[in-house]
């Protein structure tokens, strides 16, 4: 190895990025850190509190319940959206005029603003006038998402699956289309069945994009706010109060800035930690 030459001026080239990241991420984050360790009063009075807010938040049953709801929600939608997305991508045509039709149809839900999605499903699911609500009640189900927790969860999950499965489909489809044709020929000549082609060629070749799909869906669903907020407002009761909805209630509803800041930091660290875990696990698998 040749000796590296130190050039102090080289730092100047990094400076714009450092400044950008500082304004973009570090300074806002530090204000949150600032709030999370102090008690705030009017007239900009601050008192040092140390880790008290963190202890409070972690011990609070309300926070634990929101966290559990959040984990359950994210787990369920990952379990549905990933396999469903892969299945849809596998059944989409690989060539011909229908490709663009399918892709546009798939991309449509992704183009709708989140609060519109919430409002759409709000009306769509109303038990008295909504298409879904009336149909389900007409079929004999006692369905009212404003009253029943189960109905509310069902609606929120269905909405998320409708809104976001497309993303998984598009990513999986991109992975599929990058598999060279000779792989399929080779498999056919070897006498491989359709299932064997999926299991031994398509899934392994899709691994990377699927890792990204899981990561994106995990992060996005863990931060979900707008859609359930518009649809159920966190109710009935607080059965669909996910972490971010709870956070807004604490920060802006009750104006408890200290606990809210501590909550935000814990929230952020959980996402960071789980994303890192996912990523290393999937990538380590890749290397083996």
């Amino acid at each position: 190895m040749s000796q590296k030459i130190a050039h102090p001026k080289a730092w100047l080239f990094v400076l714009p990025v450092v400044l950008l990241v500082a304004f973009n991420a570090i300074i806002p984050l530090m204000t949150v850190v600032n709030y999370s360790v102090q008690e705030t009063f009017g007239n900009n009075l601050f008192f040092w509190e140390g880790v008290r807010w963190f202890q409070d938040v972690l011990r609070s049953e309300r926070y634990q319940a929101s966290l559990m709801r959040q984990l359950t929600f994210t787990g369920i939608i990952l379990l549905i959206e990933i396999p469903l997305g892969v299945a849809i991508a596998l059944s989409m045509p690989r060539k011909g005029p229908w490709v663009s039709v399918c892709l546009v149809l798939m991309a449509l839900p992704l183009l709708i603003p989140w609060n519109v999605v919430g409002a759409m499903w709000n009306i769509f699911s109303l038990p008295d006038i909504g298409l879904l609500g009336r149909t389900l009640n007409g079929l004999g189900f006692d369905y009212d998402y404003t009253q029943g927790p189960l109905a509310a969860w069902f609606t929120v999950i269905l909405m998320d699956v409708w809104h976001w499965t497309s993303l998984v489909v598009l990513l999986a489809y991109a992975g599929l289309s990058s598999i060279p044709q000779p792989y399929y020929h080779a498999a056919k000549i070897d006498g491989a069945s359709t299932w064997a082609i999926i299991r031994y060629i398509e899934l392994p070749k899709m691994k990377r994009v699927l890792a990204i799909a899981i990561l994106l869906r995990f992060m996005d669903s863990f931060m979900i706010y707008t859609e359930p907020f518009v649809l159920t407002g966190g109710g009935p009761g607080n059965t669909t109060t996910f972490l971010s909805i709870d956070l807004v209630k604490v920060a802006l509803g009750q104006f408890d800035l200290g606990p809210a800041a501590a909550m935000s930091l814990i929230y952020f660290l959980i996402i960071l930690l789980l994303s890192w875990l996912f990523y290393t696990l999937i990538m380590r698998n890749e290397q083996q």
Binding site: Y183, H185, A186, I189, A192, P204
Partner: protein, 344 residues
């Protein structure tokens, strides 16, 4: 075997085992399409494909006993080399002992024994292609299709594997069909060649025979690298007249040719830069000189046509100058106005 897909495009071919059958043609000449039809991956729009006395036109690839090696290195990405080679045997539900024995045998033949536990990503291109070859061999298929298997390998590996391939298939009774776009590769591999041009089989026969006596100008062009030189030539009485300066007497063997206009085909290494007996001199303007270690390839212009001379030894010429070139007229090929080889 007799795949005759004579519908819109004449592609009648009868291939036999024992020697390499080569499909030679440029990109898009139809080599891969023909291979796919033989494999059962594509159906011909017309005509039939027969194998061992059976019509297999509509039989799917899964049900034919064929194997194929592609230009790209195709192996199962998450199987190691052993599992990759074993995969066709596993599909055929053979016993473990049988699989171990056959994989071991083929791995030995292709020098993969040391690499059996590696994954394809950890192999060099040559080793990946050996693995793909092993997968094709282990099946004991009646028909082995090789679609430019060496094209993606670097030069040294290509030479090495090209030498080995005929030996590997020597003792097996299968029919080997090898598609290539390189005339030199076809000549090196020998066997039989079908020259392809725009989807048509222009000629099929012993490779050396096509080289010596191509039926027509197309076949001569397909099996010639650098491209064969051509020019209009007139026969009047007992002289061939290329232009007002260059003419030569008709040899005794060609006396019977009718007086007419012909296309003369001269292979680049039948045009030399030094005089020999019976050679006819032409003067040309040097356009490009390519000097390899022991060979000179010189592009020059005669009567507005670009010709190529290839001779051994280093002959440096100034580009743009006039130089003398010597045609070995005894080796010239003559094509009639239908571009068919003139035989007398």
């Amino acid at each position: 075997m007799s795949p005759s897909a004579s519908g819109r495009i004449p592609t009648d071919l009868t291939l036999e085992g024992g020697a390499f059958n080569l499909l030679l043609g440029t990109t898009l000449s139809g080599k891969t399409t023909l291979l796919h039809m033989m494999a059962g991956l594509d159906r011909p729009t017309g005509g039939e494909i027969w194998f061992n006395g059976k019509n297999v036109t509509g039989v799917s690839a899964q049900k034919r006993n064929v194997s194929m090696v592609h230009q790209q290195f195709i192996n199962f990405p998450n199987f190691n080399v052993f599992e990759n080679i074993a995969s066709p045997l596993r599909v055929a539900r053979q016993s473990r002992a049988e699989i171990d024995r056959k994989v071991g045998e083929v791995a030995e033949l292709l020098q993969l024994t040391q690499l059996l536990s590696r994954n394809p990503q950890e192999l060099s291109g040559g080793q990946q292609q050996r693995t793909a070859l092993a997968r094709a061999l282990v099946k004991d298929s009646d028909l082995v299709l090789l679609d430019e298997p060496l094209a993606n390998l670097d030069f040294k590996l290509r030479e090495e594997l090209r030498d080995e391939l005929p030996k590997i298939f020597e003792t097996r009774g299968c029919i080997v069909v090898y598609a290539t776009s390189e005339p030199a590769e076809a000549l090196l591999l020998g066997g039989h060649t079908a020259t392809l041009h725009e989807g048509c089989v222009t000629q099929f026969g012993k490779t050396a025979e096509i080289y010596r006596r191509p039926h027509d100008l197309l076949s001569a062009r397909v099996l010639s690298d650098p491209p064969i030189n051509t020019a209009k030539i007139r026969k009047t009485g007992n002289r061939f007249i290329l232009n007002e300066n260059v003419s030569w007497p008709v040899s005794r063997a060609l006396k019977a040719m009718a007086d007419a206009s012909y296309t003369v085909g001269i292979r680049p290494h039948h045009i030399s830069t030094s005089s020999t007996t019976d050679a006819v001199m032409v003067v040309g303007k040097v356009l490009i000189t390519e000097l390899s270690g022991s060979e000179s390839t010189i592009h020059f212009e005669v009567d507005g046509r670009t010709w190529v001379s290839q001779s051994s030894g280093i002959h440096a010429f100034e580009v743009g100058t006039e130089a003398n070139f010597y045609i070995d007229v005894a080796r010239c090929l003559f094509f009639d106005d239908q571009d068919k080889l003139v035989t007398v």
